[in-house]
Protein backbone atom coordinates (compact mmCIF):
# COMPACT_ATOMS: atom_id res chain seq x y z
CA UNK A 1 0.00 0.00 0.00
CA UNK A 2 2.75 2.37 0.94
CA UNK A 3 4.43 1.80 -2.40
CA UNK A 4 1.28 2.79 -4.30
CA UNK A 5 1.00 5.90 -2.11
CA UNK A 6 4.64 6.60 -2.74
CA UNK A 7 4.09 6.24 -6.48
CA UNK A 8 1.06 8.50 -6.30
CA UNK A 9 3.03 11.09 -4.33
CA UNK A 10 5.89 10.86 -6.82
CA UNK A 11 3.50 11.32 -9.76
CA UNK A 12 1.93 14.35 -8.07
CA UNK A 13 5.33 15.82 -7.34
CA UNK A 14 6.60 15.15 -10.85
CA UNK A 15 3.56 16.84 -12.43
CA UNK A 16 3.87 19.90 -10.16
CA UNK A 17 7.63 20.10 -10.78
CA UNK A 18 6.99 19.63 -14.49
CA UNK A 19 5.01 22.88 -14.70
CA UNK A 20 7.73 24.74 -12.79
CA UNK A 21 10.47 23.32 -15.02
CA UNK A 22 8.44 24.07 -18.12
CA UNK A 23 7.80 27.68 -17.15
CA UNK A 24 11.48 28.16 -16.28
CA UNK A 25 12.55 26.53 -19.56
CA UNK A 26 10.14 28.54 -21.71
CA UNK A 27 10.97 31.85 -20.12
CA UNK A 28 14.71 31.25 -20.32
CA UNK A 29 14.38 30.02 -23.91
CA UNK A 30 12.56 33.19 -24.99
CA UNK A 31 15.02 35.30 -23.07
CA UNK A 32 17.88 33.46 -24.77
CA UNK A 33 16.34 34.07 -28.20
CA UNK A 34 16.05 37.74 -27.39
CA UNK A 35 19.70 37.66 -26.33
CA UNK A 36 20.61 36.08 -29.68
CA UNK A 37 18.62 38.78 -31.44
CA UNK A 38 20.40 41.56 -29.55
CA UNK A 39 23.81 40.01 -30.16
CA UNK A 40 23.06 39.66 -33.85
CA UNK A 41 21.03 42.84 -34.31
CA UNK A 42 24.10 44.62 -35.70
CA UNK A 43 24.78 41.79 -38.12
CA UNK A 44 21.14 41.71 -39.24
CA UNK A 45 20.99 45.47 -39.76
CA UNK A 46 24.38 45.38 -41.55
CA UNK A 47 23.07 42.59 -43.75
CA UNK A 48 20.09 44.68 -44.83
CA UNK A 49 22.13 47.87 -45.23
CA UNK A 50 24.59 46.10 -47.48
CA UNK A 51 21.76 45.16 -49.82
CA UNK A 52 21.44 48.84 -50.78
CA UNK A 53 22.79 49.41 -54.31
CA UNK A 54 24.36 52.56 -55.68
CA UNK A 55 24.31 52.40 -59.46
CA UNK A 56 26.77 54.43 -61.52
CA UNK A 57 25.46 54.85 -65.08
CA UNK A 58 28.18 55.29 -67.65
CA UNK A 59 28.04 57.27 -70.83
CA UNK A 60 28.14 55.25 -74.04
CA UNK A 61 31.34 57.12 -74.88
CA UNK A 62 33.14 55.78 -71.82
CA UNK A 63 36.26 53.86 -72.76
CA UNK A 64 36.89 50.38 -71.44
CA UNK A 65 40.10 51.49 -69.75
CA UNK A 66 38.23 54.26 -67.93
CA UNK A 67 35.55 51.85 -66.81
CA UNK A 68 38.15 49.33 -65.59
CA UNK A 69 40.02 52.05 -63.76
CA UNK A 70 36.86 53.27 -62.05
CA UNK A 71 35.89 49.72 -61.10
CA UNK A 72 39.38 49.10 -59.69
CA UNK A 73 39.43 52.35 -57.71
CA UNK A 74 35.97 51.59 -56.34
CA UNK A 75 37.02 48.06 -55.34
CA UNK A 76 39.98 49.49 -53.44
CA UNK A 77 37.92 52.15 -51.64
CA UNK A 78 37.38 51.34 -47.95
CA UNK A 79 33.65 52.05 -48.15
CA UNK A 80 32.94 49.53 -50.90
CA UNK A 81 31.99 45.95 -50.19
CA UNK A 82 31.63 44.79 -53.79
CA UNK A 83 31.15 46.09 -57.32
CA UNK A 84 29.58 44.56 -60.38
CA UNK A 85 29.79 45.80 -63.94
CA UNK A 86 26.49 45.45 -65.79
CA UNK A 87 26.65 46.02 -69.53
CA UNK A 88 23.67 47.52 -71.33
CA UNK A 89 23.09 44.13 -72.99
CA UNK A 90 22.99 42.36 -69.64
CA UNK A 91 20.64 45.05 -68.32
CA UNK A 92 18.35 44.50 -71.29
CA UNK A 93 18.37 40.75 -70.62
CA UNK A 94 17.41 41.36 -66.96
CA UNK A 95 14.62 43.66 -67.99
CA UNK A 96 13.39 41.18 -70.57
CA UNK A 97 13.36 38.42 -68.00
CA UNK A 98 11.61 40.66 -65.49
CA UNK A 99 8.91 42.03 -67.81
CA UNK A 100 8.45 38.92 -69.86
CA UNK A 101 8.64 40.87 -73.18
CA UNK A 102 11.41 42.30 -75.29
CA UNK A 103 11.05 46.10 -75.16
CA UNK A 104 13.59 46.46 -77.98
CA UNK A 105 11.01 44.99 -80.36
CA UNK A 106 8.93 48.18 -80.18
CA UNK A 107 11.61 50.71 -79.19
CA UNK A 108 13.90 49.49 -81.93
CA UNK A 109 17.15 49.99 -80.03
CA UNK A 110 18.62 49.46 -76.53
CA UNK A 111 18.17 52.72 -74.58
CA UNK A 112 19.83 51.32 -71.44
CA UNK A 113 23.28 52.30 -70.25
CA UNK A 114 26.31 50.41 -69.07
CA UNK A 115 26.53 50.64 -65.30
CA UNK A 116 28.46 49.63 -62.20
CA UNK A 117 26.45 48.36 -59.22
CA UNK A 118 28.20 49.28 -55.98
CA UNK A 119 27.38 47.56 -52.68
CA UNK A 120 28.68 49.66 -49.79
CA UNK A 121 29.85 48.54 -46.39
CA UNK A 122 27.08 48.94 -43.80
CA UNK A 123 28.82 51.76 -41.90
CA UNK A 124 28.84 53.92 -45.04
CA UNK A 125 25.19 53.43 -45.93
CA UNK A 126 24.07 56.89 -44.84
CA UNK A 127 22.57 59.68 -46.93
CA UNK A 128 25.66 61.85 -46.40
CA UNK A 129 28.14 59.16 -47.39
CA UNK A 130 26.10 58.14 -50.42
CA UNK A 131 25.90 61.76 -51.56
CA UNK A 132 29.65 62.16 -51.17
CA UNK A 133 30.38 58.97 -53.15
CA UNK A 134 27.86 60.01 -55.76
CA UNK A 135 29.49 63.45 -56.17
CA UNK A 136 32.90 61.86 -56.50
CA UNK A 137 31.66 59.55 -59.25
CA UNK A 138 29.84 62.34 -61.07
CA UNK A 139 33.04 64.36 -61.21
CA UNK A 140 34.28 61.90 -63.81
CA UNK A 141 33.28 63.02 -67.29
CA UNK A 142 32.43 59.50 -68.52
CA UNK A 143 29.83 59.04 -65.72
CA UNK A 144 26.36 60.01 -66.80
CA UNK A 145 24.43 59.73 -63.56
CA UNK A 146 24.37 58.02 -60.16
CA UNK A 147 21.24 56.49 -58.75
CA UNK A 148 20.33 55.21 -55.28
CA UNK A 149 17.20 55.13 -53.18
CA UNK A 150 17.86 57.91 -50.70
CA UNK A 151 14.43 57.55 -49.04
CA UNK A 152 15.03 53.85 -48.45
CA UNK A 153 18.41 54.57 -46.83
CA UNK A 154 16.94 57.23 -44.52
CA UNK A 155 14.03 54.96 -43.65
CA UNK A 156 16.32 52.02 -42.99
CA UNK A 157 18.65 54.01 -40.71
CA UNK A 158 15.74 55.44 -38.78
CA UNK A 159 14.15 52.01 -38.41
CA UNK A 160 17.38 50.38 -37.26
CA UNK A 161 17.65 52.99 -34.50
CA UNK A 162 14.01 52.52 -33.53
CA UNK A 163 14.21 48.73 -33.61
CA UNK A 164 17.41 48.67 -31.54
CA UNK A 165 15.77 50.88 -28.92
CA UNK A 166 12.61 48.76 -28.74
CA UNK A 167 14.55 45.50 -28.68
CA UNK A 168 16.37 46.83 -25.62
CA UNK A 169 13.13 47.94 -23.98
CA UNK A 170 11.45 44.60 -24.75
CA UNK A 171 14.51 42.75 -23.39
CA UNK A 172 14.20 44.68 -20.13
CA UNK A 173 10.48 43.96 -19.88
CA UNK A 174 11.06 40.34 -20.81
CA UNK A 175 13.73 39.89 -18.16
CA UNK A 176 11.31 41.33 -15.62
CA UNK A 177 8.54 38.99 -16.81
CA UNK A 178 10.99 36.07 -16.63
CA UNK A 179 11.86 36.88 -13.05
CA UNK A 180 8.20 37.39 -12.09
CA UNK A 181 6.96 34.20 -13.79
CA UNK A 182 9.63 31.96 -12.32
CA UNK A 183 9.22 33.66 -8.97
CA UNK A 184 5.48 33.10 -9.05
CA UNK A 185 5.81 29.40 -9.97
CA UNK A 186 8.27 28.86 -7.15
CA UNK A 187 6.22 30.84 -4.65
CA UNK A 188 3.21 28.66 -5.43
CA UNK A 189 5.28 25.51 -4.96
CA UNK A 190 6.59 26.78 -1.60
CA UNK A 191 3.15 28.08 -0.59
CA UNK A 192 1.73 24.56 -0.89
CA UNK A 193 4.30 23.47 1.69
CA UNK A 194 3.73 26.31 4.16
CA UNK A 195 2.22 24.11 6.87
CA UNK A 196 5.03 21.60 6.50
CA UNK A 197 7.50 24.46 6.91
CA UNK A 198 5.71 25.58 10.08
CA UNK A 199 5.67 22.04 11.49
CA UNK A 200 9.40 21.78 10.86
CA UNK A 201 9.90 24.96 12.85
CA UNK A 202 7.78 23.60 15.70
CA UNK A 203 10.11 20.65 16.20
CA UNK A 204 13.18 22.87 16.58
CA UNK A 205 14.59 23.06 13.06
CA UNK A 206 16.41 26.29 12.26
CA UNK A 207 15.32 28.45 9.33
CA UNK A 208 18.50 27.65 7.46
CA UNK A 209 18.01 23.89 7.92
CA UNK A 210 14.43 24.10 6.62
CA UNK A 211 15.29 26.40 3.73
CA UNK A 212 18.24 24.38 2.43
CA UNK A 213 16.33 21.46 0.81
CA UNK A 214 13.74 23.83 -0.67
CA UNK A 215 16.44 25.97 -2.24
CA UNK A 216 18.37 22.95 -3.47
CA UNK A 217 15.25 21.41 -5.01
CA UNK A 218 14.38 24.67 -6.81
CA UNK A 219 17.93 25.12 -8.05
CA UNK A 220 17.78 21.61 -9.49
CA UNK A 221 14.53 22.55 -11.28
CA UNK A 222 16.29 25.74 -12.47
CA UNK A 223 19.18 23.64 -13.80
CA UNK A 224 16.82 21.29 -15.66
CA UNK A 225 14.82 24.27 -17.01
CA UNK A 226 18.07 25.96 -18.03
CA UNK A 227 19.33 22.86 -19.86
CA UNK A 228 16.02 22.53 -21.73
CA UNK A 229 16.18 26.21 -22.69
CA UNK A 230 19.77 25.80 -23.93
CA UNK A 231 18.79 22.78 -26.02
CA UNK A 232 15.95 24.84 -27.55
CA UNK A 233 18.29 27.76 -28.21
CA UNK A 234 20.85 25.41 -29.75
CA UNK A 235 18.25 23.98 -32.14
CA UNK A 236 16.99 27.45 -33.15
CA UNK A 237 20.55 28.69 -33.62
CA UNK A 238 21.41 25.66 -35.77
CA UNK A 239 18.43 26.15 -38.09
CA UNK A 240 18.86 29.94 -38.28
CA UNK A 241 22.49 29.49 -39.19
CA UNK A 242 21.54 26.93 -41.81
CA UNK A 243 18.82 29.17 -43.27
CA UNK A 244 20.76 32.47 -43.14
CA UNK A 245 24.45 31.54 -43.42
CA UNK A 246 25.24 35.12 -44.48
CA UNK A 247 24.42 36.32 -40.97
CA UNK A 248 27.33 34.23 -39.65
CA UNK A 249 25.52 33.56 -36.35
CA UNK A 250 28.19 31.16 -35.16
CA UNK A 251 31.13 33.31 -36.19
CA UNK A 252 31.84 34.33 -32.60
CA UNK A 253 31.57 31.20 -30.41
CA UNK A 254 32.85 33.02 -27.31
CA UNK A 255 29.88 35.43 -27.33
CA UNK A 256 27.41 32.58 -27.95
CA UNK A 257 28.97 30.58 -25.10
CA UNK A 258 28.70 33.61 -22.82
CA UNK A 259 25.02 33.98 -23.71
CA UNK A 260 24.40 30.28 -22.99
CA UNK A 261 26.20 30.55 -19.64
CA UNK A 262 24.25 33.73 -18.83
CA UNK A 263 20.87 32.07 -19.56
CA UNK A 264 21.84 28.96 -17.56
CA UNK A 265 23.08 30.98 -14.59
CA UNK A 266 20.01 33.21 -14.72
CA UNK A 267 17.83 30.11 -14.26
CA UNK A 268 19.81 29.09 -11.20
CA UNK A 269 20.03 32.58 -9.70
CA UNK A 270 16.34 33.38 -10.15
CA UNK A 271 15.21 30.05 -8.64
CA UNK A 272 17.69 30.40 -5.80
CA UNK A 273 16.64 33.93 -4.85
CA UNK A 274 12.91 33.26 -5.38
CA UNK A 275 12.96 30.17 -3.18
CA UNK A 276 15.01 31.93 -0.54
CA UNK A 277 12.53 34.81 -0.40
CA UNK A 278 9.44 32.58 -0.56
CA UNK A 279 10.58 30.23 2.22
CA UNK A 280 11.80 33.14 4.31
CA UNK A 281 8.34 34.71 4.05
CA UNK A 282 6.64 31.62 5.47
CA UNK A 283 9.39 31.04 8.01
CA UNK A 284 8.83 34.53 9.38
CA UNK A 285 5.07 34.15 9.71
CA UNK A 286 3.44 33.08 12.95
CA UNK A 287 1.18 30.02 12.68
CA UNK A 288 -2.03 32.07 12.71
CA UNK A 289 -0.81 34.25 9.85
CA UNK A 290 -0.57 31.22 7.57
CA UNK A 291 -4.35 31.17 7.23
CA UNK A 292 -4.70 34.73 5.92
Amino acid sequence: MSSSFENHQKRRLISSYFSVVLSIALVLFLLGLLGLLILNAQKVSDHFKEQVVLTIYLKDTAKEVEINQLEKSLAMADYVKSTEYVSKEQAAEFMKAENGEDFMDFVGYNPLQNSIDVHLKADFVTSEQLEKISEEALSKNFVDSVDYDNDLVTLMNNNVKKISFWVLVISGIFTLIAVLLINSSIRLAVYSKRFTIKTMQMVGATKQFIRRPFVWKSVRLGIIGGILALIGMGIVLYYLNKTFPELQLLSNPAIITMLFVFVFMLGIIITWISTHIATQRFLNLKTDQLYY
Partner: protein
Protein backbone atom coordinates in the same frame (compact mmCIF):
# COMPACT_ATOMS: atom_id res chain seq x y z
CA UNK B 1 12.95 22.21 47.05
CA UNK B 2 11.13 21.95 43.69
CA UNK B 3 12.65 23.68 40.66
CA UNK B 4 10.34 25.87 38.53
CA UNK B 5 10.65 24.88 34.91
CA UNK B 6 8.11 27.45 33.79
CA UNK B 7 7.39 30.78 35.40
CA UNK B 8 5.15 33.61 34.26
CA UNK B 9 4.86 36.81 36.31
CA UNK B 10 2.21 39.47 35.59
CA UNK B 11 2.23 38.37 31.98
CA UNK B 12 -0.27 39.62 29.43
CA UNK B 13 -0.99 37.56 26.34
CA UNK B 14 -2.42 39.15 23.20
CA UNK B 15 -3.42 37.83 19.79
CA UNK B 16 -2.86 40.73 17.45
CA UNK B 17 -4.52 43.73 19.00
CA UNK B 18 -6.87 41.84 21.30
CA UNK B 19 -5.84 41.00 24.83
CA UNK B 20 -6.51 37.32 25.56
CA UNK B 21 -5.10 36.86 29.06
CA UNK B 22 -3.84 39.41 31.53
CA UNK B 23 -1.97 39.38 34.78
CA UNK B 24 -0.94 35.75 34.37
CA UNK B 25 1.08 34.31 37.26
CA UNK B 26 1.92 30.66 36.77
CA UNK B 27 4.62 28.33 38.00
CA UNK B 28 5.21 24.76 36.87
CA UNK B 29 7.79 22.67 38.68
CA UNK B 30 9.96 19.86 37.38
CA UNK B 31 8.14 16.54 37.27
CA UNK B 32 4.64 17.97 37.53
CA UNK B 33 1.66 17.07 35.39
CA UNK B 34 -0.40 20.23 34.96
CA UNK B 35 -3.71 20.63 33.17
CA UNK B 36 -4.70 23.87 31.50
CA UNK B 37 -8.45 23.94 31.12
CA UNK B 38 -10.99 26.40 29.86
CA UNK B 39 -13.73 26.86 27.31
CA UNK B 40 -13.00 27.09 23.61
CA UNK B 41 -11.67 30.58 22.95
CA UNK B 42 -10.65 31.14 26.57
CA UNK B 43 -6.98 31.51 25.60
CA UNK B 44 -5.49 28.06 26.23
CA UNK B 45 -3.83 27.83 22.82
CA UNK B 46 -2.58 31.43 23.04
CA UNK B 47 -1.09 30.58 26.43
CA UNK B 48 0.68 27.57 24.90
CA UNK B 49 1.85 29.61 21.89
CA UNK B 50 3.54 32.10 24.19
CA UNK B 51 5.42 29.21 25.79
CA UNK B 52 6.84 27.84 22.54
CA UNK B 53 7.54 31.23 20.99
CA UNK B 54 4.76 31.36 18.40
CA UNK B 55 3.45 34.50 20.11
CA UNK B 56 5.56 37.23 21.62
CA UNK B 57 5.37 38.08 25.29
CA UNK B 58 5.12 41.83 25.38
CA UNK B 59 4.08 42.48 28.97
CA UNK B 60 5.25 40.87 32.18
CA UNK B 61 8.00 38.35 32.67
CA UNK B 62 8.39 34.76 31.62
CA UNK B 63 10.99 32.02 32.04
CA UNK B 64 10.77 28.60 30.45
CA UNK B 65 13.43 25.86 30.47
CA UNK B 66 16.09 28.52 31.00
CA UNK B 67 14.91 30.87 28.25
CA UNK B 68 13.58 34.33 28.91
CA UNK B 69 10.30 34.69 27.03
CA UNK B 70 10.34 38.49 27.19
CA UNK B 71 12.41 39.68 24.26
CA UNK B 72 13.02 36.15 23.03
CA UNK B 73 15.06 36.51 19.84
CA UNK B 74 13.93 34.88 16.61
CA UNK B 75 17.20 32.95 16.30
CA UNK B 76 16.78 31.49 19.81
CA UNK B 77 13.30 30.04 19.20
CA UNK B 78 14.53 26.77 17.56
CA UNK B 79 16.80 26.18 20.55
CA UNK B 80 13.92 26.80 22.97
CA UNK B 81 11.77 24.33 21.05
CA UNK B 82 14.51 21.69 21.21
CA UNK B 83 14.18 21.75 24.99
CA UNK B 84 10.42 21.40 24.70
CA UNK B 85 8.32 18.62 23.29
CA UNK B 86 5.21 19.95 21.61
CA UNK B 87 2.14 17.81 20.93
CA UNK B 88 -0.71 19.31 18.88
CA UNK B 89 -4.37 18.48 18.61
CA UNK B 90 -4.01 17.86 14.86
CA UNK B 91 -0.77 15.85 15.31
CA UNK B 92 1.18 17.91 12.73
CA UNK B 93 3.16 15.00 11.31
CA UNK B 94 4.95 15.48 8.00
CA UNK B 95 2.58 13.72 5.63
CA UNK B 96 5.07 13.26 2.80
CA UNK B 97 7.28 10.82 4.72
CA UNK B 98 7.04 7.71 6.87
CA UNK B 99 6.91 7.69 10.65
CA UNK B 100 10.60 6.77 10.87
CA UNK B 101 11.48 9.58 8.45
CA UNK B 102 9.35 12.01 10.48
CA UNK B 103 11.35 11.19 13.60
CA UNK B 104 14.69 11.12 11.80
CA UNK B 105 13.95 14.58 10.40
CA UNK B 106 13.63 15.94 13.96
CA UNK B 107 16.89 14.32 15.00
CA UNK B 108 18.77 15.66 11.98
CA UNK B 109 17.24 19.11 12.44
CA UNK B 110 18.33 19.18 16.05
CA UNK B 111 21.93 18.28 15.35
CA UNK B 112 22.16 14.49 15.55
CA UNK B 113 24.80 13.11 13.20
CA UNK B 114 25.37 9.41 13.84
CA UNK B 115 22.97 7.27 11.82
CA UNK B 116 23.06 4.32 14.25
CA UNK B 117 22.37 6.57 17.23
CA UNK B 118 19.47 8.16 15.38
CA UNK B 119 17.91 4.83 14.41
CA UNK B 120 18.34 3.56 17.96
CA UNK B 121 16.68 6.67 19.39
CA UNK B 122 13.75 6.42 16.96
CA UNK B 123 13.23 2.81 17.96
CA UNK B 124 13.37 3.72 21.67
CA UNK B 125 10.73 6.45 21.50
CA UNK B 126 8.43 4.43 19.26
CA UNK B 127 8.74 1.58 21.73
CA UNK B 128 7.77 3.92 24.57
CA UNK B 129 4.49 4.80 22.89
CA UNK B 130 3.81 1.27 21.66
CA UNK B 131 4.39 2.04 17.98
CA UNK B 132 7.62 0.12 17.40
CA UNK B 133 6.23 -1.88 14.49
CA UNK B 134 4.64 1.05 12.63
CA UNK B 135 7.74 3.03 11.70
CA UNK B 136 7.55 2.17 8.00
CA UNK B 137 4.01 3.51 7.62
CA UNK B 138 2.89 6.91 6.38
CA UNK B 139 0.89 9.11 8.77
CA UNK B 140 -2.32 8.69 6.73
CA UNK B 141 -2.08 4.92 7.18
CA UNK B 142 -2.42 5.28 10.95
CA UNK B 143 -5.50 5.93 13.08
CA UNK B 144 -5.85 9.24 14.93
CA UNK B 145 -4.75 7.62 18.20
CA UNK B 146 -1.71 6.09 16.56
CA UNK B 147 -0.78 9.38 14.92
CA UNK B 148 -1.00 11.11 18.28
CA UNK B 149 1.24 8.44 19.83
CA UNK B 150 3.77 9.13 17.10
CA UNK B 151 3.48 12.86 17.81
CA UNK B 152 4.19 12.10 21.48
CA UNK B 153 7.15 9.94 20.45
CA UNK B 154 8.43 12.85 18.37
CA UNK B 155 8.09 15.16 21.36
CA UNK B 156 10.18 12.73 23.42
CA UNK B 157 13.09 12.45 20.97
CA UNK B 158 15.36 15.04 22.58
CA UNK B 159 14.47 14.26 26.22
CA UNK B 160 12.60 17.53 26.64
CA UNK B 161 12.55 19.31 29.94
CA UNK B 162 8.89 20.14 29.42
CA UNK B 163 6.21 18.64 27.18
CA UNK B 164 3.52 21.03 26.00
CA UNK B 165 0.44 19.18 24.83
CA UNK B 166 -2.19 21.41 23.23
CA UNK B 167 -5.45 19.45 23.40
CA UNK B 168 -3.79 16.17 22.44
CA UNK B 169 -7.05 14.27 22.81
CA UNK B 170 -9.21 16.89 21.08
CA UNK B 171 -9.49 14.91 17.83
CA UNK B 172 -9.83 11.48 19.44
CA UNK B 173 -12.72 9.33 20.65
CA UNK B 174 -13.03 8.74 24.44
CA UNK B 175 -11.40 5.31 24.39
CA UNK B 176 -8.43 6.46 22.30
CA UNK B 177 -8.17 9.59 24.47
CA UNK B 178 -7.67 7.37 27.49
CA UNK B 179 -5.01 5.36 25.67
CA UNK B 180 -3.12 8.54 24.78
CA UNK B 181 -3.56 9.80 28.34
CA UNK B 182 -2.05 6.57 29.65
CA UNK B 183 1.00 7.18 27.48
CA UNK B 184 1.34 10.73 28.81
CA UNK B 185 0.89 9.51 32.39
CA UNK B 186 3.64 6.90 31.91
CA UNK B 187 5.96 9.55 30.53
CA UNK B 188 5.21 11.80 33.49
CA UNK B 189 5.92 8.94 35.88
CA UNK B 190 9.35 8.62 34.26
CA UNK B 191 10.11 12.18 35.37
CA UNK B 192 9.01 14.31 32.41
CA UNK B 193 7.12 17.51 33.14
CA UNK B 194 3.90 17.90 31.19
CA UNK B 195 1.60 20.87 30.67
CA UNK B 196 -1.54 19.74 28.91
CA UNK B 197 -4.29 22.01 27.59
CA UNK B 198 -7.66 20.27 27.42
CA UNK B 199 -11.38 20.81 27.72
CA UNK B 200 -12.03 17.11 28.31
CA UNK B 201 -13.12 17.21 31.95
CA UNK B 202 -13.62 13.43 32.04
CA UNK B 203 -9.86 13.03 31.80
CA UNK B 204 -9.35 15.38 34.74
CA UNK B 205 -11.63 13.23 36.84
CA UNK B 206 -9.91 10.02 35.79
CA UNK B 207 -6.37 11.36 36.14
CA UNK B 208 -6.57 14.18 38.69
CA UNK B 209 -3.62 16.57 38.86
CA UNK B 210 -2.72 20.24 39.33
CA UNK B 211 -5.09 22.28 37.16
CA UNK B 212 -4.93 25.81 35.81
CA UNK B 213 -8.04 27.41 34.40
CA UNK B 214 -8.36 30.08 31.73
CA UNK B 215 -11.48 32.13 32.28
CA UNK B 216 -12.44 35.79 31.90
CA UNK B 217 -9.01 36.75 30.60
CA UNK B 218 -7.36 35.28 33.67
CA UNK B 219 -5.47 32.14 34.58
CA UNK B 220 -5.83 30.72 38.05
CA UNK B 221 -5.19 27.42 39.80
CA UNK B 222 -8.25 25.29 40.48
CA UNK B 223 -8.28 23.84 43.98
CA UNK B 224 -9.17 20.15 43.77
CA UNK B 225 -11.81 18.86 46.13
CA UNK B 226 -10.93 15.56 47.74
CA UNK B 227 -13.56 12.93 46.92
Amino acid sequence: MSTPILQLKDASISQGDSLVLSNVNVEVNKGEFVYLIGKTGSGKSSFMKILYGDLTLTEGEGQIVGHNLKGLKDKDIPFLRRKLGIVFQDFKLLTDRTINENLLFVLKATGWKDKNDMNKRVEEVLNKVGMKTKGFKYPHELSGGEQQRVAIARALLNNPELILADEPTGNLDPQTSIEVMEVLQDINKNGNTILMATHDYALLLKYPSKTLKCDNNEVYEVVQRKQ
